[in-house]
């Protein structure tokens, strides 16, 4: 009997509400429309138990439809809010990446200048990788840090070549060539391209490039306040320079 009394209560309440709304309606022009909706609501309440048996709960359905309407209205036909937020995040990430790349290029140019001034190394190429601190991508005020620095020294014939054709050397030098890596005093794990070939070649050119590399590491490390461990100095061989 509980359901009967609750159903009756509901019906009475809705009818009362409807008559109340009818009273406070502002004008006659809306009357017919408002009455239609109100009578539909009363009908829905009367049919309540039947609807519960035959279909899902009516109120949940109505709420879902209204929610759908509101969402499509708010988004202005451009998809959901979530979609827009996702796009914004993508744009932000791309922008951040671009600015990091730009900053890395600037830092690399500065380092190159410094190396030339301090150690007299002419054909050194510097590649800097900047990164944002992990887990704080949302925070725009976070400042990036230098993840690693790779200095490629063009030794021997290569440096002579660059001296012979200085303007073109910067353009022609191609990054993907397999450079010979010298790792002095630091574990090779810091450098992603610390391959076996690099290790082998390092042995041959260690004696002439070692001191120089150490100096470069010291210069950059002290000047920029970064750990010398993350600076990798490679020695570009003659054949690399020709490429």
């Amino acid at each position: 009997m509980a359901w009967l009394s609750s159903w009756l209560k509901e019906v009475i309440m809705v009818v009362l509400l409807a008559s109340f709304v009818d009273l406070i309606l502002p004008s006659r022009s809306m009357e017919r429309y408002v009455k239609l909706v109100l009578s539909l609501l009363i009908l829905l309440t009367l049919l309540g138990p039947l609807i519960k048996i035959l279909t899902d709960a009516a109120d949940i359905k109505i709420a879902a439809v209204f929610n759908g309407m509101n969402q499509s209205h708010e988004a202005g036909g451009k998809g959901s809010l979530q979609q827009i937020m996702d796009e914004a995040k993508q744009l932000q990430t791309r922008q951040q990446k671009q600015s990091l790349e730009w900053a890395a290029r600037e830092v690399a140019a500065k380092m190159k200048d410094q190396i030339r001034k301090e150690s007299g190394e002419q054909g050194a190429d510097v590649a800097v990788v900047l990164a944002m601190p992990e887990g704080t991508a949302q925070d725009a005020n976070q400042s990036p840090y230098i993840k690693n620095v790779t200095v490629t020294i063009k030794a021997g014939p290569a440096s002579e070549e660059t001296a012979a054709a200085p303007p073109a050397s910067g353009e022609i030098r191609i990054d993907p060539v397999l450079p010979v890596q010298i790792e002095i005093g630091g574990p090779p794990k810091e450098n992603p391209s610390g391959t076996e070939s690099g290790q082998e070649a390092a042995a041959s050119s260690e004696e002439n490039g070692g001191a120089n590399a150490e100096a470069i590491k010291r210069i950059i490390g002290s000047e920029w306040g970064i750990d010398p461990e993350i600076i990798a100095v490679r020695n570009g061989t003659a054949e690399n320079g020709k490429l």
Partner: protein
């Protein structure tokens, strides 16, 4: 005694409008619109009392809150559309006023759509296949 305030405000506004109307009909219209908005705002507090009482009653009697929300939306749409239409009509733009009323009617009908859908679905299920 708020009714005296409202009526007083209305009377003063009417007298002012009658005085101003001869010289500056534009200001008369602005005054009328501002008075309307003021009275509307004045009633807002009272309306919120009524609405919260209705909500309490609906909750205690177990009426689905979505029904109450629908009813309140109907009242809101009807009042706002009526108010806007009257202000525009006062300014002499009968055409726009009727469009505002049409918009109000349409929005009320939109509220009826899900209800009609559920009722029709139920009726169709009642019928033997």
């Amino acid at each position: 005694m708020e009714i005296i305030q409202v009526v007083g405000l209305g009377l003063i506004a009417t007298i002012l409008i009658l005085i101003v109307k001869e010289q500056k009909p534009m200001f008369a219209f602005l005054l009328a619109a501002a008075t309307g908005v003021l009275i509307f705002m004045f009633l807002m507090g009272k309306i919120s009392t009524v609405v919260s009482e209705l909500e309490r009653m609906a909750r205690s009697s177990g009426v689905e809150l979505i029904y109450l929300k629908t009813i309140l939306k109907i009242i809101g749409i009807a009042y706002i559309a009526e108010f806007g239409a009257q202000v525009v009509r006062d300014a002499g733009q009968e055409n726009i006023a009727s469009k505002i009323e049409l918009a109000g009617k349409m929005l009320i009908m939109v509220l009826a759509v899900p209800i009609i859908g559920i009722i029709i679905e139920t009726v169709l299920k009642l019928l033997p296949a």
